[in-house]
Each structure stands twice: as C-alpha cells, then as structure tokens.
C-alpha cells in the first residue's frame, strides 16, 4: 500500500519540483523584463510591453486544462522521444507556472517603480541600479509570496494532469475513486496533495516572517 503512495508522491514531487524550478527561472526574469519595458519610450518596446502584458493577462485567465490540451502535440512529440508522460507533463506545468509568476512579478515591480519613481530620479540611479538596489529588495517579499503561490498552483495543476494519466497523486486519487474504488487510498492521496499544496504555499511565508 505504502509503496503505491510513495511512488505517486515521488512522481508528483518530480513534476512539481521541476516545473516550479523552470517556472522560477523563466518567470522571474520575464517579469523583470516586462517591468523594465513599462517605462520605455521607443515604439517597439511599448508594443512589446503591451503584447507581453496582454498575453500574460490573457494566459492567466485560461484554465490549466485548456493549456494542457493545447499543448498535446508538444507532449506527444516528447512521448515519441521516449520521455515518460510524467516528465512530459512538466512542459505544460512550466508554461502555466511561468505565465502566472511573470504576471505577478511584473505587476509588483511596476507598482514599486511607480512608488519609487521620484526617489529613483532624485538619486540619479540607472535602470540596473534601480532594479538591483531598490526595486528588487523592495519587492522581494512579494516575489517570494508569488513564487510560493505559483508552486502551490503547480501542485494543483499536477493533480489535473494526473487525472489525465500523467501519474502522481492525482492519477492515484482518480483511480481509487472512479476506477477501482478504495476509500482509504483516495482519502490519503487527496489529503497528501492538499497538505503538499499548503506546505508549498506557507513554508516560504513562515521563513520570511521569522527572518
């Protein structure tokens, strides 16, 4: 019994960890790039900023299920290259996580930028100095919170992916509630997933609070 649960947990953690790491690596710089373009004067930068902002806002409203279905050709391509379904699922999870995190990071940095606009000008800071010395330290807590929320959302998305056969606790829960019903398995897998989501969401917040 425990072996099935441990395997499912391992698969979920694999999906969530990799997808979260890739989301952080792509989402935070993307958010910073968008925030940097917010005050740009050139027409190209303004158009790129509006396009990216619009895309992220639109992307945020799309349910994960739709993203996953839309990316089936990519997932199939990965599966054809002998990559397991669990690993292949990391791609849609990463895309959903990146869009979510980049949107939050950009929003937070733009808000800080507006707040600090005069001081930055008065101090004569360059864009890079403003970002590294003022905007990032000012927004760090909010960015960590956004990252924690993204990781928690990815846990939830992994559950949906599991329902479609990507493995992990999601698949186990579906199998044990619909396929071959087993109340204990279903309860344990669902509660583990919920606990996992809460751990991802609140541990960083607790660390910030006690820092």
């Amino acid at each position: 019994m425990f072996q099935i649960l441990i395997n499912a947990l391992r698969e979920t953690l694999l999906m969530v960890m990799y997808a979260s790491i890739f989301s952080f690596l792509l989402g935070i710089p993307l958010g910073m790039l968008i925030a940097n373009m917010a005050e740009a004067q050139s027409r190209l930068a303004k158009t790129t900023f509006n396009a990216l902002k619009g895309f992220l806002q639109f992307g945020g409203t799309i349910p994960y299920l739709v993203i996953m279905l839309a990316l089936i050709p990519c997932t199939n391509w990965l599966l054809n290259h002998k990559i397991s379904f669990t690993t292949a699922t990391i791609l849609p999870l990463t895309i959903a996580g990146t869009m979510m995190l980049a949107h939050h990071v950009a929003q937070q940095l733009i808000a800080s930028q507006n707040k600090w606009q005069n001081t930055i000008k008065a101090l004569g800071a360059t864009k890079k100095q403003a970002l590294l010395l003022i905007l990032l330290p000012e927004s760090l807590e909010a960015i960590i919170k956004a990252a924690a929320n993204t990781a928690a959302a990815i846990v939830g998305y992994s559950f949906i992916a599991g329902a479609f056969g990507a493995g992990g606790l999601g698949q186990l829960a579906i199998e044990k509630t619909i396929g071959e019903p087993n109340f204990l398995y279903a309860c344990i897998s669902i509660s583990t997933l919920v606990a996992l989501q809460q751990i991802f969401k609140y541990t960083p917040l607790l660390i910030i609070k006690h820092k």
Partner: protein, 352 residues
C-alpha cells in the same frame, strides 16, 4: 561667479505628464534664489508650490523657459547629465519612500551605493549623517519602526550624505507636533550652516516662515504673485493672497470666543477688526489717539504683543474700531502714512 542668482528660473511653464498643454500648473515663473538663502513658498493647495519644487529638483522638465543652477543651464541637458546634476539637489517630502526591509543605515547608504563609493567611505559618511540628524541610536532599526519626525530626519540624512547644495522641503512640517517642529527647524538651521545649503520650503505655517525664512514667495494658480522679505510679508503685504495669509494667521492667534464671531463681509451691525504693525514708530499711542480724534472714531484694544520676525522685533496690536467704513479706511491710510501698517482682519458684530 554670481551667487545672488544661484537658482535662476526664467519664464518657466510646466504641465503634468499627460495633461493637455493648456492645463499649465506653472505659468511664467521668474525666480532667483541666492546661495545660502532660505526661501519660503506660501500658497493654497493646487497653487503650484510642489510643482515648483519638482521643477527646481529637475524631476519635471519645463515646457518652456529656463532652469539654471549655479549659472549652469540645465533645461536642455540629456537624461544622464541631468542625473548627475540632480545629485546636488535634495528633495524631502512628508511621504518619503524607504526600503522597509533594510536598516536605517542601508537606506542612507543608497545614494552612495548608486555612485559606487567604497564601502568604508559609505560607512563613515552614513555614521556622520546619522549623528548630524540625531539618529545614531537607530543605526540598525528599520524605517517602519520610526515615527514621523524620525522618518523626516532619515530623509534629511539620506540627502545630506549626497553632498547636496540645495535642499527642498515639501510640506515636511505637516502633522508634526510643536516640539517636533522645533527640533526640525533647529536641525534645518544647523545643516544649512554646516553644509552651506540653499533652503527652499513650502509651508503655510506662519511660525515656521517667521523663524526659518528670510524671503517668501506667494503663489496662486501656478503664478508667483508676490516675492518679498518675511518682514515685509507680515508688515506690508501687497497681494490679496498675502493679505489672506496674514488675516488667516492673525485670526488663529485670537481668542476662540472672538475668532468664532469674525465674518468677512461688512454690514451695518458689524465693525472692523484691525491688525496694526509697527517697528520703528516712536510714539504709536500718540499717533493712534490723534487719528481717532481726527476721524471721530472709537476703538477697543483686543490684543497687543511683540513678535520676532527675521530677527527683528515687530509690535502688533489687534483693535476693533467703531465708525463709518469710509472714515475707517481714511483713518487706516493715515495710520499707514505715519508708520503704523494696518490691515482689516475681518468684521465682528456690534455689542448692544
């Protein structure tokens, strides 16, 4: 080098970013400020006081006109060059932003870090600035733990560490209690002397103007309507805004029971309440008695006191005067010609 025109604004016009060009918030501003001068800016809300400071601080570029500091025209400089010039100008506001996740010391170090100073130089400069403003004990505290006065002091420290030549204070006294205001005034005097600063501040507090400033400009709807010395403002106001300011200030110095009865319009049931100022008048009582006799008027002295304005003693007398409006006006002109400046504060009802 001409230090009497350390700050020179010529025909400056400016508007808000994104606003239509006809919505000017600064209209034809001509202003010169000497090095080391303390200039007060008085005006109602939306009169353009803060906008003028932002223009001097080079945070907003004027639409037309010229902004020159230390005989250097800064109007057409490129953004990078403007950044360097801006470092010589400090702007303090009541709502300054600080990095709440960093310590007081790290906040003060920010301008020096931006200029890439060595670490030991940053440390000594910050310690010195903190000592100057009296926040040495808050070295490791975070700005969130500071009270309003301490936050203003921190803002001052963050500016003086940058070797500024001009300090602009935008309504920094708002919401401060009497004791805190006194501390801030003496600190501003001290740093002005130590760092040879030119100080420009916006306030509508007469006491601050009297204690701290040498000259004053009065602003109304984006224009400078009067520039005068503080002494002239309180003894010989010219513009209506200046007169309103004196009236308002004097009213607030009167006892509450009288203040609540003052109205702005004269009727048959009201008589005038007048503020008399005199500095070098040798026999004010005699002049006053002669005037009353000559114009057949009666008066009642409400208050008489001395006040110190720009290091000079001014005698002030608040009187209520009974008589025809025309006669009262003539009497006031006569008093003015004899060295007793008079100003109607308002009208109070006759007591039957």
């Amino acid at each position: 080098m001409d230090q009497s025109q350390f700050i020179n604004l010529k025909n400056v016009e400016s508007t808000y970013l994104g606003a239509r060009q006809e919505e000017l918030y600064l209209k034809g501003i001509n202003l010169t400020v000497a090095a080391g001068e303390t200039l007060g800016i008085i005006g109602r809300a939306d009169s353009g006081k803060s906008a003028l400071l932002r223009c001097i601080a080079l945070l907003d570029r004027p639409l037309t006109g010229l902004v020159a500091i230390d005989n250097k025209n800064l109007t057409f400089l490129a953004s990078r060059e403007i950044s360097n010039e801006r470092r010589a100008i400090g702007l303090i506001t009541a709502k300054a932003e600080f990095l709440n996740s960093k310590s007081v010391m790290e906040n003060i170090a920010l301008p020096l870090k931006i200029q890439e100073y060595p670490k030991d130089k940053i440390r000594t400069s910050c310690e010195q600035a903190l000592e100057t403003v009296g926040l040495s004990d808050k070295y490791h505290s975070t700005p969130a733990t500071l009270n309003q006065l301490q936050r203003v002091l921190l803002d001052i420290a963050r500016n003086i560490v940058n070797n500024i030549k001009i300090l602009l204070c935008d309504d920094i006294f708002i919401g401060l209690e009497q004791k805190s205001t006194e501390i801030l005034i003496s600190l501003l005097r001290k740093i002005q002397h130590e760092y040879h600063l030119t100080l420009i501040l916006t306030t509508n507090d007469a006491e601050i103007i009297k204690t701290l400033c040498q000259n004053v400009i009065i602003m109304q709807q984006g224009e400078i309507v009067e520039k005068c010395s503080v002494l002239d403002l309180f003894t010989r106001p010219i513009s209506d805004t200046a007169k309103d300011f004196i009236r308002f200030t004097t009213k607030h110095e009167l006892p509450w029971c009288l203040r609540r009865r003052i109205v702005n319009q004269e009727t048959a049931e009201h008589h005038a309440l007048i503020r008399l100022n005199f500095t070098e008048c040798l026999a004010p009582e005699e002049i006053l008695n002669n005037t009353l006799e000559a114009y057949d008027l009666k008066m009642n002295i409400i208050q008489a006191f001395q006040e110190k304005i720009a290091d000079r003693i001014i005698n002030v007398m608040i009187i209520e005067i009974f008589g025809e409006a025309f006669t009262v006006n003539n009497a006031m002109s006569f008093l003015t010609n004899n060295g007793l400046q008079s100003e109607i504060i308002g009208y109070v009802p006759n007591i039957n």
